[in-house]
Assembly symmetry: C2
Homo-oligomer: 145 residues x 2
DNA sequence: TTAAGTAATAGTAACCGTTACTATTATTAT
DNA sequence: ATAATAATAGTAACGGTTACTATTACTTAA
């Protein structure tokens, strides 16, 4: 990543200018508004380079495509299993765990990936509503998982 | 998963009889020793069914294919970033974190995925050796990442 | 300031893990 | 036994990602 490129700058800007945690497709679409004929391969290559350079973070979401985060500060993610949205969590992880593991096992922890899967408050409300419907009206709405 | 099948039983046995955390290819190879013409699709389908039924666990390793674990007890994984081996960790995760997150954010955590990436003790030794070579002989060996 | 050297690119093909499809086989309840 | 239908083998398709290749555009130094 020694030479500058307009494409890479544009990709970085797109990611830095959102607080969402976009996937490649979304990034590709956004960048094409600036550079209509940019190649998808260019997007992938530069995302890798930018992540390696530490300018962005690459998230891995179980069972779905890569996502990226322009916020490289130390934070974790809450993933709603219903709506798929990703929320930021600025909660420190117990730092003692690494020392304890090293003592016990000899394994040297370098990175902790703590992913918390659950329901965001919006989806909890929906679940509540759904329950009410079911109990009140004996209506069962399927396929919401 | 209402009817029994020889294929599914064989797949389950293969996974239960190893303490490694095998991927689909390895499982497929092992099962073919018993059932040579088993279909790869059958392996995938039954792995999904067995995981849904809670008889095995499906692991997701960042940037690599699915792996499975016949040990469904509550434990976590240490992943060596050098050799790729997966080690079991029977260390409880701070349970207070879930309550704290709910209080602060309203997000209801259902599952914690704590993956610890680092170096196993074997690979640490190799790294040490490598450093020694470099310092002693000014030999640089590349590509070991 | 131009020319040479070579990253980076666009466009496309290939790849790989996984899922979907379909005709056939095997299991279960009657 | 027979009917109903899960489950299978074999194969095709799929989606995300990477690899390839000829071309373009930075950068350095003459």
């Amino acid at each position: 990543m020694s030479r500058k490129s307009i494409q890479r700058d544009a990709i970085l800007q797109v990611i830095k200018n959102t607080t969402s945690h976009p996937g490649v497709d979304w990034i590709y679409d956004e960048v094409r508004k600036e550079i209509p004929n940019i190649s998808l391969g260019t997007v992938y290559r530069n995302l890798r380079l930018l992540a390696q350079a530490g300018e962005i973070r690459e998230l891995d979401i179980p069972g779905s495509a890569k996502r990226f985060d322009g916020d490289t500060s130390n934070h974790r993610h809450l993933i709603c299993e219903k709506c798929g949205r990703i929320f930021d969590l600025y909660e420190a992880v117990d730092p003692k765990i690494e020392a304890r593991i090293f003592q016990k096992t000899g394994f040297k922890v370098k990175r902790q990936y703590l992913k918390l899967i659950g329901l965001c408050s919006d989806c909890q409300k929906q679940e509540e509503q759904l329950k009410t419907y079911i109990y009140d009206n004996s209506l069962i709405k399927g396929g919401e998982k």
